[in-house]
Symmetry: C2
């Protein structure tokens, strides 16, 4: 039996941990993929990590994102489905995640 | 003769380095002090670091902030004056620094 995923309550999420989680290019990329094209929030995705990353590295990045409160992970059979906790984060830290996603889209286009 | 401070050009500043610099509570506090009360941007300050920090730790934090492009440091006699590069950062990454400063003010009030 696998251990269930642990997610922090929204009021326990800290700004510093959110910023730390997003300061890594791979994790920012994962969050962007989860957010879907155009910076919109909410898409679920079970394959958001760059495919060339070792499985253990992928797991580590998803763990950091989960512990920072940025994503919610759920086991469905043998698969793990991850979803951004975008609405919750927006409510707790208005504008932070949306402006970061927008800025990161813009930076990529250059 | 002391070496002059080196500041990255605005187009060389990366979102990841800005987020990394702000992910540390002490550096976020320094940036908040530089931004002045209420999240407004622009105040210069030569004593923005918490006073109980060792001088070398203070220097390290200011260096990280400077290299990330968040502050501009200038020697005036024996003193170093630091200023947030807020307008430049806002132009490059709209909403990022302002929403982080606002969120951090809000988090503190809780």
């Amino acid at each position: 039996m696998q251990r269930p995923f642990v997610h922090p309550a929204i009021e326990d999420i800290t700004l510093e941990s959110v910023l730390y989680a997003l300061a890594d290019p791979t994790r920012l990329e994962i969050v962007k993929r989860l957010a879907g094209a155009g910076g919109a929030c909410g898409m679920n995705c079970s394959a958001a990590a760059p495919a060339d990353l070792p499985k253990s590295t992928q797991s580590h990045h998803f763990q950091v994102l989960r512990e920072a409160g940025l994503i919610r992970s759920e086991r469905r059979g043998t698969e793990v489905v991850n979803a951004l906790r975008c609405a919750e984060i927006e409510k707790r830290f208005p504008g932070v995640i949306s402006s970061i996603l927008k800025a990161s889209e813009k930076a990529k286009k250059r």
